[in-house]
Amino acid sequence: MSNYHELKQKNLVWKLIAYVVMIIFTVLTIGPLIWLLYSSFKPHIDIIHNIFAFPASFYTDNFVQAWKLGRLGIYMLNSIFYSVAATSITTFLALAAGYAFAKFKYRISGFFYFFFIMGLLITVHSVLVPLFVMETKLGIDDTRLGVLLPYVAFGLPMLIYLATAYIKGIPDSLEEAAVIDGAGYLTIFRTVIVPMAAPVTATMIIFSFLGNWNEFVFVLTLTSKTSLRSLPVGVNAFAAGQTMNYGVQFAALVIATAPMIIFYLLFHKQLAKGFAAGALKE
């Protein structure tokens, strides 16, 4: 029995270490974010005076100023447009391609699939220069289309990977039954595959939306008009310059972050699934 006792004590030590690690890590992670949130309700002078103190009153002027001066309304609308449009297009295309790769037993599918999977290793920066040159030549630089195309192209590899893996798992018997009923492939895609793939579609949408919402470098290089810029690029241009008014800077950061944090707290299960699935290849 004493052996059992010893083991219990040892495990207690492990638990204690575990708590210490977890608490340190959690405080380090959310501490700065909580500090940012409550400081955004302090006027600049109070932040300089005592950087730790909680706000003395509920000062919302920072938010009004950040929203107006920073033109965050325009950036917010652009971000919503880019994210919604790119996510819907990419998810739809990836489901279609995933169906073709998973269920049509063509040899060439393996080649195409590999083609897309290699895209996971390609960095955005390796295509930036030629993409910029191409878009200028075609006259689609500084347009919404010019931003959406690279969003879709770089989103495809991951989503095609997720879609293909999932659709492979849908039993063949279901579509065979539809074939016997005389349905065409596109009808099968619409009436069998899309409904059956709903769980993976949710993961794909959430994963893709997050990536598109936070995307930075394409909007930075492919647009120059303020009216086309997204929240990350707009906030970077505006907030980075507000070192003379930290209250406004913090409010701008909070405005840029809040939608995603709410989105995350609502969907963190699916989001985690997307990230986890991304590492399950091989």
């Binding site: 052996n3 040892k10 492990w14 638990k15 575990a18 708590y19 690690v21 977890m22 890590f25 959690t26 992670t29 959310i30 974010l33 950087i51 730790f52 295309l93 279609a96 391609a97 169906y99 073709a100 790769f101 049509f104 195409f112 996971l120 290793l121 390609i122 960095t123 955005v124 920066h125 295509v127 930036l128 220069v129 030629p130 993409l131 191409m134 192209a153 495809l156 492939y185 596109l186 895609f189 997050l210 690029v233 906030v235 970077n236 907030a239 070192t243 840029a256 972050t257 995603m260 944090i261 989105f263 963190h268 989001l271 985690a272 699934k273 990230f275 699935a277 991304g278 590492a279 399950l280």
Partner: protein, 295 residues
């Protein structure tokens, strides 16, 4: 239309849009970039063929070499910092060594959802002379004139940047490890507990060996992710002061879009691709050996 052609046409309809967009936006530009990298071009007129000159210029530029070193530091902190830390956190949650695992998991993963640019501006403030870190150190050292001088030091200027990278991405590796640990059959662990295995033995003999493949995959993710690191450093320091915190993606960006050296910028981006593939192959061969040892 026969059944066979119908199938072929359907296949084309389903795949063609994806393949065309992908080829047009990614494949074609990479080939374009490769050919531009052997030329000198400012965006006007015809590119002038200069052979390997751009590559020679790059590897003799001390700014580039320092950027390369910084990139390797980012790779290092990702592979030897984020992955082990993420693993430890995942293990604690998976084995439920603490209560409220859901809460901890959600909070540690949270930074991933924030735009890198926002994280960068936040931490730039924290490390600035009027920032939170400075104020904290002034209290701890009881010295009202304390300022963080690390950015002025060429050797150590990357340290705060590396810390922020660790802060932001560790949660992602944690989530990946948790998802894969959950696939281990619980009966295996129960059996080892009945056999009297300690927590350390469960970790070393049951969990770690079944995670070798996943550790490899996360290493690949970490390497390709590290070489892509741009947003965070661009918004936090812009590579400054005096290029001390510059990474090659920023070096490429500045040379292309500020100095209009398209040929040179292309050469740098080709080096990024080669470097990332090279490192991944290296990691792969290391893991091959490791696996052989285990089997």
């Amino acid at each position: 239309m026969t059944e066979k052609t119908l199938k072929k046409v359907s296949y084309a309809a389903l795949t063609a849009p994806s393949i065309l967009i992908y080829a047009f936006i990614i494949i074609f530009p990479i080939l374009f970039s490769l050919s531009l990298s052997f030329t000198e071009w400012t965006g006007f007129g015809t590119p002038k063929f200069v052979g390997l000159e751009q590559y020679v210029r790059m590897f003799t530029d001390s700014v580039f070499l320092h950027g390369l070193r910084n990139n390797l530091l980012v790779v290092g902190i990702s592979v030897f910092g984020q992955i082990p830390l993420g693993f430890v956190l995942a293990y604690i949650i998976y084995r439920q060594l603490v209560k409220a695992t859901g809460f901890f998991e959600t909070m540690i993963f949270l930074p991933i959802t924030i735009a890198a640019v926002v994280v960068a501006i936040l931490w730039a403030q924290i490390f600035s002379p009027a920032g939170l870190y400075t104020a904290l150190m002034r209290r701890i050292y009881d010295d009202p004139r304390y300022v963080l001088k690390i950015f002025e030091n060429k050797t150590w200027a990357m340290l705060p940047v590396l810390f922020v990278i660790l802060w932001m991405y560790t949660g992602m590796y944690m989530i990946i490890f948790i998802a894969n640990m959950q696939k281990i059959s619980p009966s295996v662990i129960e059996a080892s507990i009945i056999d009297g295995a300690s927590e350390g033995q469960i970790l070393g003999r049951v969990i770690l060996p079944s995670m070798v493949n996943i550790i490899f995959t996360t290493a690949v993710l970490a390497i390709s992710g590290s070489l892509k690191s741009f947003d965070l450093i661009y918004a936090m320091t812009s590579g400054g002061p005096a290029h001390y915190t510059e990474v090659i993606a920023i070096y490429m960006y500045v040379n292309t879009f500020k100095y209009y050296n398209y040929g040179f910028g292309s050469a740098v981006s080709i080096v990024i691709v080669i470097l990332s593939l090279g490192l991944i192959l290296l990691v792969r061969s290391v893991f091959r050996r490791f696996e052989e040892k285990y089997e």
